[in-house]
Amino acid sequence: MHAEFLFNEFMTATETEPSALHEVLLKAACKQIHKELEETNYTIECVRLAHRIFGYLGDEGLHKRLALMRAFLNINASKRMEDQFWANWELVDNLALLIQYKAMIDEQKRFLKWAKKHMPPDDWLKVMHDSTQAIGWVQEGQADAWFTIYVELIQCVEPTAANRHSRILYVETATGLLIFHANKHSEAYVEIERFSCIIHEDLLWAEYTNFLVRLMSYRLALSSALGDWLTYEKTVNEAMMVIIREINKYNNTNDSAALEKVCDMAHDTGACLIWEKRYRQAMPLFEYALHNQGTGITHYYYAICVWGRAAGQDRRAASS
């Protein structure tokens, strides 16, 4: 049987009823894709399927992804630039996920050099904008080097509607580093303002509301860091109002893409509340996301809320 068939069987069975019993299908798909990679000499279709399969295999799978991307990039066959870009990005990202930060920084520097030579400026932002990868630079004491590249790229790439998404992700990552890792609150405020300016370039932008709620999550983090609880409460209420408005909008349209976005917003805001140990307040948001979307990470966060609340760790309940 083909790896794709086995993998689809695994996905269907697991989506219907998550169970460890389905792992045998995943293992069989993994074994089969190795054979197919060799037989096809790493065609992009095979590589992308292998990447998906390996993503469900934990750390072992992430190591397999590293070997996969290196093999694909080194294979002596013609490759499209966008596929090489994807493989390079995945190589860097999986090194970050495995906390191999020294190797990750070397690869990311090499990747940026490659991208500047072969790809348009909009793609340079994508090389650097990921937050998980950026944390690696901080952990290795190279935050200043990361910010030097950030300032250079954010200033040299001409802002357009096409690169708005990438610019926001990049500014968002910089904001997170400044708040959570560098404790540079005044600089974080500047980046939050930049974030706000970018999302307000076009109020009709399809991603406007999604990023508006994400902007609020950074305002929550900054006001928490500053102990500005009045602003914190005001921002929580604003985020809740946006989410409720979007839920009502979904109820009138039944647009499944809109529902996914609302669930993401509920999850993001719930996560902010967890950092403040406001489990009871976060739970209805996660419950909505679980009921309508149900990703693994939302289940994990909901488990934190259940345990934190039950163990009497809820800060808001304790203070009220």
Partner: protein
């Protein structure tokens, strides 16, 4: 019924249930699946459970 942590049994069961689902579900879980044990063992809220066999066995990895 209360457990040794002073937590109601139903909350313990609910937390276990959601950790198991985090570990096994596929939706939005590419790259994260089978890696929740690391997160669990670093999550401050779960610190009293880090040696709890039933919770540790909720993870496949």
């Amino acid at each position: 019924m209360r457990s040794v942590y002073g937590v109601e049994q139903r909350d313990r069961i609910a937390a276990l249930h959601h950790l198991r689902l985090a570990e096994t579900k596929v939706k939005g879980n590419g790259g994260l699946r089978l890696r929740y044990k690391h997160m669990f063992l670093e999550q401050e809220e779960f610190s009293e459970l880090w040696e709890d066999y039933e919770f540790l066995s909720a993870f496949l990895g």
